[in-house]
Symmetry: C2
Subunit: 531 residues, 2 copies
């Protein structure tokens, strides 16, 4: 049995049953069987499932928010927004699948004159990998958990999903899992489209990563957790890809001009980004790079005042609270690091931590690894930089990031290209005159970044291109028309954008220059390739 | 010093100097410096370099072919075709870079009404990873080596390349490396755009994979070599992606109808595909699945006759010859495996092997791993299948493949969808009524496949999308117009296809609906982001 805790009180919540070995096996067998089920390969049905799931999650809002609030201590307003984001993700990714936008179709027609050898007819599309294991995050019990972006993008891509429920919010996970399973049934999908397994310890998750029936893993969590899963997946007889999003320092770089023009406003924004929801966001700014001197000093004072005024924040679990406290203790012991907020203890029950501001020297940054590690919780370190060279060294020294933010004024812009370039080299997302928290769900979003921010910087866990993680290309060479997947057929029956002989082409009517080729495809059993 | 061997005679070729530690360090420093050099970030200049390299490789054809023939034993005609393919690859990938087709630009304009939070302006493109280490293959001294597809696609993507020259064809590699370096100079690129290091042992390659200045590795070779490199790269403090293409069995599936209609023609095609160039191709068919009974027996006889008639083939190296001989000996010891060609020894000098045909039972396939392993050289195993169930089990049992080929007649097609689907699940490319060897260089080509065919089935090492391996997405959020890379600016100054607010758009004039947005970008120093 599994017991979660209300982090606001420290009290145990009702016990919940863990998945048995027989149940685990059934869930995985069902996932494999769903992967090749014709109804599951129908993208329209999968889109229906995601749309129905979104509607039903909204219907269950009261129950879901009550469970999530109890299990995470996050405020109801935030959880309501997170639920809506989760629903929007499901709907948007379902529409991507329905329209076939994720298939990246490429068609090269035969060319007998190609050099050095004649070219056959080659048609390529992306197909689904198969069952995907999803490990949700404790800090986003909805948007990065059971029905979160990983689940939505894997299902959109055509992969059955097996979620390893997070033991910190098991009841929330069970409600959401039941909604997903029911949505699959209503959409006419096989039971294995979505599976859910639950346990308090690590073993079940390890078993899931090791299982030959799993084809890919998506994970959001700590660097330690992500590394362990990646190592495990690589050690399988048949290694599989792991897309681990493992957190980040999310440096915020502020110019002298920006501080002079809107120092107080920046302090307000930073404090909100650092401390809201206990600072427990992958994109929380953990490091600020500000100019040394009066303007930087004023920023530190403004931040210290605002952070000291905030009540201690509820943290998600006792392990996170202990890790946070331990990290700050280690930080304070480093020479060149100064704590600017009082280290007051909370007298309240549950797991809480006061927001913490540190100031440190760049030499400390370069010497001590603890200054380059994420402190998951409401803490931020301000480093002063003396000029371009120091700023460059500092940013480079911080390593790979999910995001980097730049606060600058228009009068800075002429000399800022190098900094933008450096930020792009260090991070997956460069934010201007804003804060990295509040990740927008859209086509262009990139949530991922150079190691250790994520295990595969070439991909994203948020946004419409998140599907790409669960797909791989297949080329069909000289295939008879009737044996081609519909997406690749002459006449463009699915009305897709396709790259034909090197050029993108497509139209609402679904006609392309391929139609000039003689011969109309016969009706026949097209291979049920995932689309 | 490094000594290669003429495999036709077994005689040593003149000694060649290995790279010193100081040279190695200089090459890597130069690569890092080139990665951020504005001239290297100019895709037009990189395209120039690739075009110039192609022209000069053609100019040096006589020298290159003489060296390659001496070092590989491959016939001059084949090497001439391979050189032309190499040049075409360089030119085509250069044009991809010049046109910016690889940038995958996505733009989402700000939307204050988005739910659950207002959407900022988010613009995403792919940027280059940085210096790439390329390990060439012994069997393609040109097209998969120094100036091969990995080098061409990494340079096209905007990554400097450091080639670890293959010790079996060092002189060929040196000539080609000199041409590439000179092409870079003529195109106005920094010296670090292309570097070349050479050694006989493994240590230099290991050092290259371990070096923190390298951001990705491309490898073509054996499963053992690919696994070792992948494990090394994963064990780095900062792991990097390894794109290893590690060979395959490339099963050819033949229906009864196809054998009846054109059995002799299929035998001709198979023999050419199995034995030409010593069968030393990643896509050589190593396994044939043919129906049991008279038609299958006739195919075996036809193959045996043709293969027995061929002279022993020259193999590339003594290690390959020894490995091939050892593999066949192990094969013959398996119960249920029968050799159908005489095991005649060659009296000629050098490294040679007679083409070998085996017939084996499906039960042997499922029981003995040696029947599921690649035999690199002119060998093929025919398995007889009794029906759909046996064929399905056999294909599934073979594991991940670069390719799978199907020979069938139109009267088979109505019942063939399941087989096409299964082939797509097992392989990166499905070939119809043809042979997997002779990989066409085009947009749609997929050369890669489920493990162990390649380490990352989501990518290809041949074709225009090979660039994607060396790129990662970066999103710019609310960026001032003048700080955006040109590819992302309003007005579409580079004339790219871009996904704007979810829809692909683009035109020759480079205008998009974004132009309706007020405000013209100012002239300024755009960040030199790779494109």
């Amino acid at each position: 049995m599994l017991t979660a805790t209300d982090p606001r009180t420290g009290r145990s919540l009702p016990q919940i049953a863990e998945t048995t070995a027989a149940e685990f096996d059934d869930v995985l067998d069902a996932a494999v069987s769903a992967a090749h089920d014709p109804s599951f390969l129908d993208a329209g049905r999968r889109a229906d499932m995601l749309r129905i799931a979104a509607a039903r999650l909204r219907d269950r809002k009261v129950d879901i928010l009550a469970a999530a609030e109890r299990e995470t201590g996050l405020p109801s307003g935030r959880l309501g927004g997170e639920l809506e984001r989760t629903c929007v993700q499901l709907e948007m990714l379902g529409e991507v699948a329905r329209r076939g936008e994720h298939l990246e179709v490429i068609i090269d027609r035969a060319d007998p004159d190609a050099q050095p050898i004649p070219r056959p007819d080659v048609r390529r599309m992306l197909i689904a990998l198969g069952p995907v294991a999803v490990f949700g995050a404790s800090n986003f019990p909805l948007a990065f958990s059971t029905a979160g972006g990983d689940t939505a993008s894997a299902l959109a891509a055509g992969c059955p999903v097996v979620v390893k429920g997070h033991p910190a919010h098991p009841q929330t996970g069970l409600i959401v899992a039941a909604v997903l399973a029911e949505a699959g049934r209503v959409a006419g999908l096989p039971a294995g489209a979505f599976g859910h397994v639950l346990a308090g310890g690590y073993e079940l998750g390890e078993q899931l990563v090791d299982d030959d029936r799993i084809e890919a893993v998506a994970f959001t969590g700590s660097l330690r957790g992500g590394k362990a899963i990646a190592a495990r997946a690589a050690a399988r007889p048949r290694p599989i890809p792991v897309y681990a999003e493992m957190g980040s320092l999310n440096p915020v770089i502020i110019t002298e001009a920006a501080l002079q023009t809107r120092g107080e406003e920046i302090a307000d924004g930073l404090v909100a980004s650092v401390a809201t929801f206990g600072g427990q966001l992958c994109t929380k700014p953990g490091v600020v790079l500000a100019p040394t001197g009066a303007a930087g000093d004023a920023l530190c004072s403004a931040l210290a005042r605002r952070l000291a005024d905030r009540a201690p924040e509820v943290l998600l679990t006792s392990a996170i609270a202990a890790g946070f406290a331990h990290g700050l203790t280690a930080l304070q012991e480093v020479a060149g690091v100064e704590r600017l907020t009082p280290p007051h203890e909370s007298a309240q029950a549950g797991f809480r931590a006061a927001p913490a501001l540190f100031r440190a020297s760049l030499s400390a940054l370069h010497e001590h690894v603890s200054l380059r590690e994420e402190h998951f919780g409401p803490a931020v370190i301000v480093f002063g930089y003396g000029g371009e060279g120091e700023l460059r060294d500092a940013l480079t020294g911080l390593g790979g990031q999910l995001s980097a933010a730049v606060h600058a004024e228009p009068r800075d812009y002429d000399g800022l290209a190098w900094l933008v370039d450096l930020c792009a080299r260090c991070a997956g997302r460069v934010v201007f005159n804003g804060y990295p928290t509040g990740v927008s769900v859209c086509w262009a979003m990139q949530h991922g970044g150079p190691y250790p921010a994520s295990s595969q910087a070439g991909h994203t866990s948020v946004g419409m291109t998140a599907t790409r993680r669960f797909l791989r290309p297949v080329a069909f060479q000289n295939a008879p028309a009737e044996l081609l997947p519909l997406a690749l057929r002459d006449g463009n029956p699915l009305g897709l954008w396709r790259r034909v002989n090197g050029k993108l082409t497509g139209s609402a009517a679904g006609q392309t220059e391929l139609d000039r080729r003689p011969g109309v495809p016969r009706r026949s059993a097209a291979p049920p390739v995932a689309r």
